[in-house]
């Protein structure tokens, strides 16, 4: 028993250290670009990962093998995805060469979506700073390294057999998104694990300080990954408040809620900085309401969005999976929780496509398969969690 508690605490400590280092790296860069501090932070991050891999090497061997093999695959792959080289790695390259986190706000190459948050490019630029040079391949590794904290935390959520299943599911759904230099895989992982942590803290009454701290850090990272991430955090915070109001636990949990609400501050600072530099978002801007008015009554738009978003093969499979899991486990608490998050996010995706200034068919064909991945992963994860909780006999009603 004592051994088990120690093991759990070790994992929580490693995960907390890793996420805090990711955030520290971002905030240090935001204040000023100090090469030595950045090198130190990134070295510590690598040391923490090495500690996890080397300490009791046979423990969680399957996860360690997966992470190492994925690192090798990342380093052996070209950077060919448009958004990878044109947005994420270009922003990282700009931060690295200009030695400034706001390098992209100078109006150069506006088509690279300069308003996008930069926590992932910052981490890639830090890796390049540590290496001391830039090329097109290795900075992608930083994106994979950023996914380690939640993946390591997943050990705590399942037993060994179910953890195998979780990893198989994650690799099946995310596959190339983990290695091609896009951040959509990262968004999916952080979104799903943030949702799980909210579920655990507010519905499972998990009272660990570590959990609250990790949730707070995950929220900040998720909101700073992509604009979708900020929407996801807003959804999770809203659902968290709704749950507490409906359960009349607002007073009991107000400290936790206020603490988690503070996680929105970094993304707000970034957005305010963008406004100050006159860098606007291409979709949400002053014309948003006009676009919405024109599109909202257009039946064909809805049909097209439905076709691209809902009829995605893996997404349909994940819905079937969560329904089968619910039928088997009858875990209403997990099912309704994941469904409420999923439906709200889906609604927000519909809204974004309705206000899109671009040709809708082109916009959907170039992005729908990517933005639906977090939902696919979320439903699959909570489907598996339902089965696991049934298996180990966690209370269901």
């Amino acid at each position: 028993m004592l051994k088990q508690i120690k093991r759990v605490l070790k994992i929580e400590t490693v995960v907390s250290i890793l996420v805090l280092l990711i955030l520290l790296n971002y905030f240090v860069m935001f204040i000023s670009y100090n090469e030595y501090i950045i090198k130190l932070i990134f070295s510590l991050y690598i040391c923490a990962i090495l500690f996890f891999i080397i300490y009791s090497p046979l423990n969680f061997l399957h996860l360690k093998i997966t992470l190492v093999v994925l690192m090798i695959i990342v380093l052996g792959n070209p950077t060919y995805s448009w958004d990878a080289w044109a947005i994420w790695l270009f922003h990282a390259k700009r931060i690295f060469f200009e030695q400034s986190i706001i390098a992209q706000l100078d109006g150069y190459a506006m088509w690279t979506h300069n308003d996008y948050p930069v926590i992932a490019p910052t981490f890639a630029a830090s890796l390049a700073t540590l290496v001391g040079s830039w090329n097109n391949i290795f900075p992608k590794l930083a994106f994979l390294l950023m996914s380690f904290p939640p993946l390591i935390l997943s050990i705590k959520m399942f037993n060994v057999r179910y953890h195998f299943l979780f990893l198989i599911l994650a690799l099946f759904i995310l596959n190339l998104y983990l290695i091609n230099g896009l951040v959509d895989g990262l968004v999916a992982i952080y979104f799903t694990f943030s949702s799980y942590l909210i579920y655990d803290i507010f519905l499972n009454k998990q009272n660990s300080f570590y959990y609250l701290l990790i949730t707070f850090c995950f929220f900040i990272i998720l909101s700073l990954l992509k604009n979708e991430g900020a929407v996801m955090v807003a959804i999770l915070l809203s659902i968290m408040i709704i749950i507490n109001i409906s359960k009349k636990e607002m007073l009991q949990n107000y400290k936790k809620i206020i603490f988690l609400l503070f996680s929105l501050i970094p993304i707000l600072i970034w957005k305010i900085t963008c406004i100050n530099y006159n860098v606007n978002n291409d979709i949400i801007n002053y014309d948003t309401l006009n676009s919405l008015k024109n599109m909202i009554f257009n039946y064909n738009s809805f049909k097209l969005i439905f076709k691209f978003l809902i009829l995605d093969t893996k997404f349909i499979l994940s819905i079937i999976f969560i329904l089968i899991a619910f039928n088997f486990a009858k875990n209403k608490r997990i099912f309704y929780f994941s469904l409420s998050i999923g439906v709200t996010y889906l609604f927000s995706l519909f809204m974004v496509y309705l206000i899109s200034p671009y040709d809708l068919a082109w916009h959907l064909s170039s992005s729908a398969s990517r933005v639906i991945v977090p939902l696919t992963f979320l439903f699959s994860f909570f489907g598996l969690l339902q089965i696991y909780h049934k298996k180990i006999g966690i209370y269901v009603h």
């Binding site: 046979l58 423990n59 061997l61 399957h62 093998i65 997966t66 093999v69 994925l70 090798i72 695959i73 380093l75 052996g76 792959n77 070209p78 950077t79 060919y80 080289w85 044109a86 790695l89 270009f90 390259k93 700009r94 060469f97 200009e98 150069y108 190459a109 088509w111 690279t112 290496v131 040079s133 830039w134 090329n135 097109n136 391949i137 290795f138 060994v160 057999r161 195998f164 299943l165 990893l167 198989i168 690799l171 099946f172 596959n175 190339l176 983990l178 290695i179 091609n180 200034p357 671009y358 040709d359 068919a361 082109w362």
Partner: protein, 142 residues
């Protein structure tokens, strides 16, 4: 730990996990040459960039130590694109221009620069003087 892998079902799941990793490796463009050169700053990313003009542009600009450059209208392609029209988007090929801009950074594209990159077969003004030429591009001072 050993007992975990003694269980046949766990062993089967472990096997499935490995298959999944091999599958990812196979559907990606994994290449040993890229892996070997992944940290080599002088390595030319021939597998990442599929237009040789882009790679050549960096070679020409570096050779002449140019920090700001300009490109011909033919390289830029269509300007003021209307992204609300699918037909325009399909007909446009901005890859060369955009990739040149990102790949050459920190060498910046500047409309005020006198150093111009043209396609080799492009007609140029008589006011421009050729500095260098490669297989696909020529560098001029205008």
């Amino acid at each position: 730990m050993k007992s975990i892998y003694k269980n046949k079902l766990n062993l089967f799941l472990f096997f499935l996990l490995i298959i999944n990793l091999i599958y990812i490796k196979n559907i990606s463009y994994f290449n040993l040459e890229i892996l070997v050169n992944s940290f080599n700053k002088n390595w030319i990313p021939v597998y990442s960039i599929y237009r040789s003009e882009v790679i050549e542009s960096k070679y020409l600009l570096n050779k002449h130590r140019i920090s700001k450059f300009n490109v011909s209208q033919k390289i830029i392609g269509e300007t003021d694109l209307d992204f609300s029209s699918a037909n325009t988007i399909k007909a446009t090929n901005l890859y060369t221009y955009y990739r040149m801009l990102t790949y050459n950074y920190p060498i910046r594209l500047d409309s005020q620069s006198k150093y111009f990159l043209f396609f080799l077969n492009e007609k140029t003004s008589e006011k421009c003087k050729a500095l260098d030429k490669g297989k696909y591009l020529k560098l001029l001072i205008c």
